[in-house]
Amino acid sequence: MPPYKIPKRVKYRKEFRRARDRKATKGNYVAFGDYGLQALEGCWLKSNVIEAGRIAAQQLLKRQGKIFIRVFPDKPVSKKPLETRMGKGKADVDYWAARVRPGTMLYELAGVPEDQAKAAMARVAMKMPVRCRFVGRRLSV
């Protein structure tokens, strides 16, 4: 299993699940790169999946361009072990996830031509648990 990112320090070990059915109001446009991969559905994106996406893009691009990861897994998700009775308090943290809303920009790419970026993002999208689309920079005034 490849190493993956989790926060360095947290205020509390565990947290509530919270609502996950809202649309993105921030982090929903290409801000750093030229192209991006945008989630069209919401999910909790596991830290190992984020890393898998990064590796998938990097291997295809052969160290060309720069990849920006726009989501960070800062949400601890706890899970009770199998065949355990209910109760006895909240379970241990099973994995860390990034909260992804419909519209959230997951990855961005800079320094590569559009066709190459499209191919890389299509490869990354295969790893994602949600529907995604390839986007460019939006109209600015």
Partner: protein, 216 residues
């Protein structure tokens, strides 16, 4: 900017709010507001297709004629609102301007030329910002500002202060030290430091509020 700003017909919106704006969008309109010059703000709707075509062409100044009024007013596109996917424009802000007035606005930067530094192994062109903030006369608003990067070498950067503006009367408002274009060597970038988080299998983060041993 074109010789003459494109003319659009606007309809005054009698009822404002989410529900009525949604109906306007479904009918092919674009809700907008006109304000400025000390006059009352007016909620209007314009033809979405025509307006967006002009905006995609880089138009900043439009001529608006409100239905039932003979007066044609020059407006500057001040702001655009997007939907949650960031693709569809759902609302536009127009501010009244005179052609002789000086305004502050953002203009797109177009990088031209092939940088010499890009021939180096692992070199990559980065442009952290795609626009520059300018102060200029309404009549002189450029569609974009061209920046020549042909002399840019590997490891060097081009700042806002290096940009040659089309007219001497124009003034940049962006931070002069802001990087417009930069050529970085990828090999250096590759050794990424893990600043934000720990990278370890099975490791747990430090809990700030956790009681230390010996504390009450």
């Amino acid at each position: 900017m074109q010789e003459h700003a494109p003319l659009l017909t606007a309809t005054r919106r009698e009822r404002v709010g989410t529900r009525y704006s949604k109906r306007i969008r479904e009918a092919g309109g674009l809700p907008a507001i006109i304000y400025g010059h000390g006059k009352e703000p007016v909620a209007v709707s314009v033809d979405a297709k025509k307006t967006l075509r002009h905006l995609h062409e880089g138009e900043k100044i439009l001529q608006l004629q409100i239905e039932g009024q003979s007066e044609v007013q020059n407006v500057l596109v001040k702001d655009l609102q997007f939907d949650y996917l960031g693709t569809n424009v759902i609302h536009a802000d127009f501010t009244r301007v005179d052609l002789e007035e000086r305004v502050e606005l953002k203009v797109a930067i177009h990088l031209i030329g092939e940088a010499v530094g890009l021939k180096a192994a692992g070199a990559m062109l980065m442009h952290p910002t795609n626009e520059i903030e300018l102060e200029c006369k309404v009549a002189n608003i450029p569609d974009h500002v061209e920046v020549d990067i042909s002399g840019l070498e590997a490891g060097s950067a081009l700042h806002v202060s290096d940009i040659q503006l089309p007219l001497p009367t124009m003034k940049t408002l962006s931070d002069p030290d802001l990087i417009v274009a930069q050529i970085i060597i990828q090999a250096v970038e590759e050794e990424e430091t893990e600043e934000a988080g720990v990278v370890a299998d099975g490791a747990q983060p430090e809990v700030i509020t956790e009681k230390k041993e010996g504390e009450d």
